[in-house]
Amino acid sequence: MHYLAYIDQGSGSLLFQALLSGFLTVLVFFKRIAAWLKFKLRLKK
């Protein structure tokens, strides 16, 4: 039997944060590339 009232609503949020973390990994990766490119371009100038 699955008792809905006993499910911790916060645990779904924890799981979602794990997925969000994966999404942010990609975002941070591209941010780092953008920052590196900006740095290189500034050096050339």
């Binding site: 779904g12 949020s13 799981l15 944060q17 994966g22």
Partner: protein, 456 residues
């Protein structure tokens, strides 16, 4: 054993206690490590210097309570408005302040463990964090404990105000612990699905409803959290306007005769100077013209109006002029903020918080009587409930073009509005001190003194 104030019972590491000389926060030994880190790392000073967090004075240990590590006395607040009384601009400032605080805290290795707008108060046009014991140490790959609370209590209501209308914030008085994400997601307009912030933190997040209680291995690094906060902050900054459902009051005084406005200002100034109130409640403050005048004669003014765009306009001026003694809040006098929360004692009613030495009610009575259909007797009772000593009330005669227009809107059937009724109703609790006719329209200003008021 420390008996907490009803609004601080949830915090396991501290208690807020009201003593005769003001509010104190008792920090427990269980929070010693975090408290010392907060105050000694430089985080506390940076946040206080930037006006993001309330400052406090360290009173020392409490010898009577072995569980208490420190007693602190925060700067005392003259008036606290609740989030369901905030305008859109105030909500937005509070959300941005929370994100800024988190970004600064992360630099020092800390993060907020709570993300409720009830932890903020609005002063000088800024949102300031009240809860000194909200910080915890952040460890790499931790989840953000307050993430769901942030989405339900902060981001969700703001998104609803932005996409659906600024009146949606009033729901927060019914859901003081946050609106359920599924509810927010269902109510938000379809265009919100095109916002990455709404899509991720509300719509997709709402689809994760519990399941395994085991903590996931993968959380956030500080860099990821900074990206997350910066993404939400950008969205909040771009949401510069709410979806306005109304806002007819902002230009209320634009069409008025200059003579009427000048005479009205002159009389109000003269009376404020005479009665010298400590605090003033300006009911139906509109864009705050008279609240700003009252702020020169009183220690503190609360400006109340039901139109959020008017409150935003007052708030902009408070911020621009950095005025510290006015708080603007959205309250509908036909449905004033009730006491709510646990035992109805967690959040005080507007009458308990807003009772003032003097009450201003300018060009308001006819709207309450005719628009809102509140009897003159109840209007006078409303003034009495806010008033400690004096009330300055404007009466607009029944043949005034604005009143005629309002009555015509009701099919011309409204009859319970006259100066005689007005004076009789106010005489129940007040003595009339002065009466002045202002402007060409024969409007009148009355200065009333509350009958039980102490001699001045």
């Amino acid at each position: 054993m420390i008996t907490p104030n009803y609004s601080s019972y949830r915090d396991p590491v501290a208690r807020v206690v009201r003593k005769q000389d003001g509010w104190y926060r008792y920090v427990f030994k269980t929070y010693q490590k975090e408290y010392d880190y907060l105050t000694q790392s430089g985080l506390y000073h940076e946040l206080v210097d930037k006006g993001l967090m309330i400052g406090h004075e360290d009173v020392g240990p409490d010898n009577e309570n072995p569980d208490v590590y420190k007693v602190i006395r925060p700067e005392q607040i003259a008036f606290q408005s609740y989030p369901f009384e905030w305008s859109y601009g105030q909500w937005r400032k509070a959300l941005i302040a929370l994100l800024d605080i988190n970004c600064i805290a992360l630099k020092y290795g800390m993060i907020l463990k709570d993300a409720t707008p009830f932890n903020f108060y609005i002063t000088k046009g800024r949102a300031v964090l009240l809860d000194t014991t909200s910080f915890i140490l952040f460890t790499k790959n931790d989840v953000w404990a307050a993430y769901r609370q942030f989405c339900e209590e902060f981001l969700g209501p703001l998104a609803l105000m932005h996409y659906n209308g600024d009146q949606w914030s009033e729901l927060v008085s019914a859901y003081t612990r946050g609106l359920p994400l599924t509810f927010i997601s269902r109510q938000l307009r379809r265009s919100s699905w095109f916002s990455l912030t709404c899509l991720l933190h509300i719509h997709l997040h709402a689809r994760f409803r519990g399941g395994s209680a085991t903590k996931p291995q993968k959380g956030f690094t500080a860099e990821k959290l900074l990206s997350l906060f910066s993404m939400i902050r950008s969205a909040a900054v771009s949401w510069n306007e709410p979806y306005r459902l109304k806002g007819a009051w902002k230009n209320y005084y634009d069409g008025g005769s200059p003579k009427y406005i000048i005479e009205k200002e002159k009389t109000v100034i003269q009376w404020l100077d005479k009665i010298k109130p400590h605090t003033v409640a300006d009911l139906g403050a509109n864009t705050g013209r008279f609240a700003f005048i009252a702020a020169k004669y009183a220690e503190y003014v609360i400006a109340i109006d039901k139109d959020e765009s008017c409150i935003d306009s007052i708030e902009d001026e408070i911020e621009e002029r950095s005025i510290a003694n006015i708080t603007a809040l959205t309250v509908d006098l036909a449905a004033p903020s009730p006491a709510c929360g646990v035992l109805n004692k967690e959040y005080a009613s507007i009458f308990d918080r807003g009772r003032s030495d003097a009450v201003l009610g300018l060009a308001l009575v006819h709207h309450l009587c005719i628009d809102m259909n509140i009897s003159m007797q109840l209007v006078a009772e409303t003034f009495s409930a806010f008033c400690e000593r004096f009330a300055i009330v404007e009466f607009v005669p029944p043949d005034d073009e604005r009143v005629v227009q309002l009555i015509e809107n009701l099919g011309g059937l409204f009859t319970e509005y006259s100066e005689e009724l007005f004076i009789t109703a106010f005489s129940a609790d007040f003595d009339q001190v002065e009466e002045v006719e202002i402007g060409p329209g024969k409007r009148k200003l009355f200065l009333f003194k509350k009958r039980h008021a102490a001699a001045t």
